[in-house]
């Protein structure tokens, strides 16, 4: 077992491997100081690599092309953000804007690996501030060694000193403080000990197969210097050990980052800095990109054709994000949806292909020559290729029929249940998730009505009604929303089917509960995947939660032609919000 763990994270091609190759082949090319990493750690052949049934990307074998040959140093990357981070203190707010900012400036113990050959969804945890992780026999104890020479930014009062155990201890204290709302995510850690100056030992209450993912989760454990309490205010100043140093932040306007010359991945970042402009309006962002003022932008699927026409040699990254939208039902007794037939009818009322087309413009894009994926979400979102079971696959068994668009059958089921058109409340929030979600929510209502379900739409304010009441199961009728985008797949099952307070529909199916708990402790990848598939099969039949298509289409990032390595490293597109650490340092600019 221990051998599996050792191989699990070691086998992944680390960055150093590429650097070793590059140094040999292109010594002196453009003055790159890539030599000197000295690490000859060879990855074992990936025998433990998961062979998921719908594997998209190739398994990481050394690619023949070195991504850093001909790399030029310097230049400023111009990007835009949709808003100010509510706070720049990583533990101050759960917003993705705060976490995304943190990823420029701070480090975690582990991060997700991106690079040539690693497709979105195939990313695995790789060491960031950690040097190694040794589990014990059953994975309930983890010994993590810190990199001995990682330094903080050279900014007062921290002044570039080494990252020590004291800082890890301090940060863990902040992670588990009473005022940190998501500390429940690490509640399974029993105790944390610091046996010596470079070692952290985590003891877990029960084995967790995904512990390294927890450490790599950009929502969770950021390492801050201990001066953040008393020496400086992390809400006003940001001092971390990440690849970029925050030089200036003018509120509502822009952030300026300088590359950190002493980042613990020597030789990186390749660029000189990042300029992050705050542009809330999508049309304005796109206009700036088309005019050449921005290097990276999120492109709505309906604007792709025009972007391609207007920007010569436009680079595009299209991914299916790991985002699950689903319909859920209130937990009250004596309702129509106590009967699974009603829930199945709801699922069969949805034309998933049409919904995907409305949200992601599939048909027109394919006609225009774009490679668009349009998978169907299951209770595990389609972007999670590692665990996702395609609802169209025969392995779904009986549940497969319930994903099909079949209005006649839906009507029959409704009649069988005794539903005669009584009004049912249909609620969602429209001021949180963006226009794609809002569109699909609106059209879903039309489909439900078409099948004969008398829906009374109620659009709810996110902060005052939806997140406080509906999301926790305090509602009447049918609700529709996104799930929190967990980087770790097991979290979905835990939240949906166990006694988690955020079990939205208060679902209590003993079989599913058992599977949810079991997968967390199952170490073997194949076994674990079988459990995931089983859970998706069972939910397919019971339809406790009805998966919908928002989040299942391809989302696009447009990149200017002079940003090199962007596509290989899936710039700004790794799961979670850690991409500023995981991708930005490895691209380079060639403004000719």
């Amino acid at each position: 077992m221990s051998e599996y763990w050792a191989r699990y994270w070691k086998h992944r091609a680390t960055r150093r491997r590429f650097l070793g190759g590059a140094a040999a082949a292109t010594a002196g090319a453009a003055g790159l100081a890539l030599v000197g990493c000295g690490d000859d750690e060879e990855g074992a052949t990936p025998t433990a690599a998961p062979a998921s049934p719908t594997a998209a990307g190739p398994t990481p074998t050394p690619t023949p092309v070195d991504p850093f040959a001909n790399a030029k140093r310097g230049g400023i990357l111009n990007v835009a953000s949709t808003g100010d981070p509510p706070t720049i203190d990583p533990y101050g707010n759960l917003s993705f804007l705060t976490k995304g900012f943190a990823a420029y400036v701070y480090s975690r113990l582990f991060m997700y690996e991106a690079g040539p050959g690693i497709a979105y969804g195939e990313n695995r945890p790789t060491p960031d501030l950690a040097e190694s992780a040794e589990p014990n026999a059953d994975g309930s104890e983890w010994v993590i060694k810190l990199k001995p020479n990682a330094k903080f930014h050279n900014v007062a009062p921290v002044n570039g000193r080494n990252v020590t155990i004291e800082d890890v201890k301090f940060s863990w204290g902040r992670m588990t403080a009473e005022t940190t709302p998501n500390r429940s995510q690490v509640a399974f850690v029993d105790k944390v000990e610091f046996p010596d100056a470079t070692t952290v030992k985590f003891t877990l209450k029960r084995p967790n197969a995904a512990f390294l993912d927890v450490l790599a989760d950009a929502n969770l454990f950021w390492i801050m210097p201990k001066e953040a309490e008393g020496g400086f205010n992390p809400a006003e100043k940001a001092i971390g050990s990440g690849p970029f140093i925050l030089k200036e932040y003018v509120a509502s306007q822009a952030m300026t980052f300088d590359s950190n010359p002493s980042w613990h991945f020597e030789g990186f970042p390749l660029i000189a800095g990042v300029k992050l402009a705050i542009i809330p309006e999508y049309a304005t962002r796109l206009a700036q990109f088309l005019a050449g003022n921005l290097d990276v932008v999120d492109i709505n699927p309906n604007d792709l054709a025009q972007a391609r026409d207007q920007v010569k040699d436009l680079q595009l990254i299209g991914i299916v994000p790991q985002l699950l939208s689903f319909i859920y039902f209130d937990p009250k007794p004596n309702t129509f949806w106590r009967d699974p037939r009603f829930r199945r009818a709801v699922s069969m009322a949805l034309d998933r292909d049409a919904l995907t087309d409305i949200g992601y413009n599939v048909k027109k894009l394919r006609d225009a020559g774009f490679d668009v994926a349009s998978p169907w979400n299951n209770i595990i979102p389609a972007g999670f290729t590692r665990w996702w079971l395609d609802p169209k696959s025969p392995d779904m068994g009986e549940g497969r029929a319930y994903f099909e668009y079949n209005v006649a059958e839906a009507k029959k089921l409704l009649e069988a249940v005794g539903y005669k058109g009584e009004p049912i409340k249909y609620q969602y929030t429209a001021n949180r998730y963006g226009s794609t979600f809002n569109n699909i929510a609106e059209v879903t209502q039309a489909y439900l009505a078409q099948a004969g379900i008398n829906v009374q739409t109620e659009v709810q304010d996110y902060s005052s009604v939806y997140i406080t009441q509906t999301f926790v199961g305090n509602f009447d009728g049918i609700a529709f929303g996104y799930e929190t985008p967990f980087p770790e797949g097991g979290s979905y099952l835990i939240r949906f089917f166990t006694d988690d307070p955020l079990n939205h529909g208060k679902v209590n199916d003993p079989q599913l509960k058992e599977i949810a708990l079991k997968q967390q402790a199952t170490i073997d990848e194949e076994e674990r995947r079988a459990l995931f598939h089983e859970a998706q099969k069972i939910n397919g039949v019971q339809m406790y939660y009805v998966p919908n298509q928002a989040g299942a289409g391809t989302t696009w990032t447009g990149i200017q032609p002079w940003v090199k390595n962007a596509v290989e490293f899936t710039l700004y597109n790794t799961p979670g919000y850690g991409d500023p650490t995981e991708t930005v340092p490895f691209i380079w600019l060639d403004r000719a």
Binding site: P86, P181, S184, E236, I278, L290, N293, S463, S464, F471
Partner: protein, 317 residues
């Protein structure tokens, strides 16, 4: 005169106090709270965390106590700390306020420059084609939703004339006055144009009223030229109510900059104010309302002072 000024200044105090109290209550009456937003998805299930955060920001005290705490802070010059960003409100506002202020002033200048000439000409040539054209123009500016114009312009710019795309970031006046004014020209025009409609209307009706007065008729009879009559006699009196209307535009400007700031990525207070409202960031909302009320009340005072200076009858009432 001095007594009038003194009386007005004294009256400002209860007004401001009243505003601060009303706003204090109003934001707390809105359902939902900032702590929920901070805790997000997870907070819904973790009441301990919410209690701890409430305590951290003294939100768990009863309302009169919170008000007293806040008032004592204000009187010491401490505008408080944003709950969301944990930075002082002053630091949040110090960059944004001048921007909105500049945009507002420019908009008012544009509005007055359009409205007064158009209003005067419309009044002089009442019910002629010139009148219709002038009024239509002014009302047209008012009737078109300003965000619509803004987005149309930006979209056309990006598609057809890339020089029209606004600069990616805001250029501060202190860094580059010309660049700054060029950037703000379009938004100021859109905002000011919308305001000019009502000012024009008041100018026109005030002018019409003045033109019917006996002393004007005397001037005609005396044989004075039209220009002399208008400029020397009519204008002064007609402008009095107009000054009032301009004063009334100030609160409109403050609230109305939000959308333009969003569309043109102008880092002003309007945008910040709306986002604070959305997030129920009490200290920020209260502070901004107080600042705005101060500006409004003060500008009303200035307007009334101008009134009193121009029209001696008012001073002695």
């Amino acid at each position: 005169m001095q007594r009038y000024l003194l009386r007005r200044l004294l009256l400002m105090v209860p007004t401001l106090l009243g505003i601060s109290f009303v706003v204090f209550l109003m934001v707390r009456l809105v359902p939902g709270d900032v702590v929920t937003l901070i805790s997000g998805d997870y907070g819904a299930a973790d009441p301990e965390a919410k209690k701890a955060i409430l305590k951290q920001y003294s939100l768990d005290q009863n309302i009169p106590k919170q008000y007293a705490l806040w008032m004592s802070d204000i009187l010491q010059g401490n505008l408080g700390r944003s709950i969301i960003s944990n930075r002082t409100v002053i630091s949040e506002l110090q960059h944004r306020l001048p921007v909105t202020f500049e945009l507002g002033v420019l908009a008012l200048i544009v509005s007055v420059s359009i409205a007064i000439p158009v209003g005067i000409i419309s009044a002089i040539r009442q019910d002629t084609l010139t009148d219709y054209a002038g009024r239509s123009f002014a009302i047209a500016l008012l009737a078109a939703p300003n965000f619509w114009i803004a987005i149309v312009l930006i979209t056309l710019a990006s598609r057809y004339f890339t020089w029209g795309v606004p600069p990616r970031e805001y250029i501060h006046f202190t860094d580059n006055p010309i660049g700054n004014l060029k950037m703000l020209a379009m938004p100021a025009f859109i905002l000011g144009g919308a305001l000019s409609g009502s000012v024009m209307r008041y100018t026109r009706s005030a002018m019409l009223e003045v033109l019917r007065q006996d002393y004007i008729r005397t001037a005609w009879a005396k044989g004075l030229r039209e220009r002399v009559i208008i400029v020397r006699h009519a204008l002064r009196n007609a402008l009095i109510p107009v000054v009032t209307v301009i004063g009334l535009q100030v609160p409109v400007v403050v609230g109305g900059t939000v959308i333009i700031e969003s569309v043109y990525s102008i880092p002003g207070m309007g945008r910040y104010y709306v986002s604070a409202i959305n997030q129920l960031d009490y200290p920020v909302i209260q502070a901004i309302v107080l600042v705005v009320a101060l500006v409004v009340v003060f500008s009303n005072l200035v307007v009334d002072m101008t009134y009193a200076i121009i029209d001696p009858r008012i001073r002695y009432s």
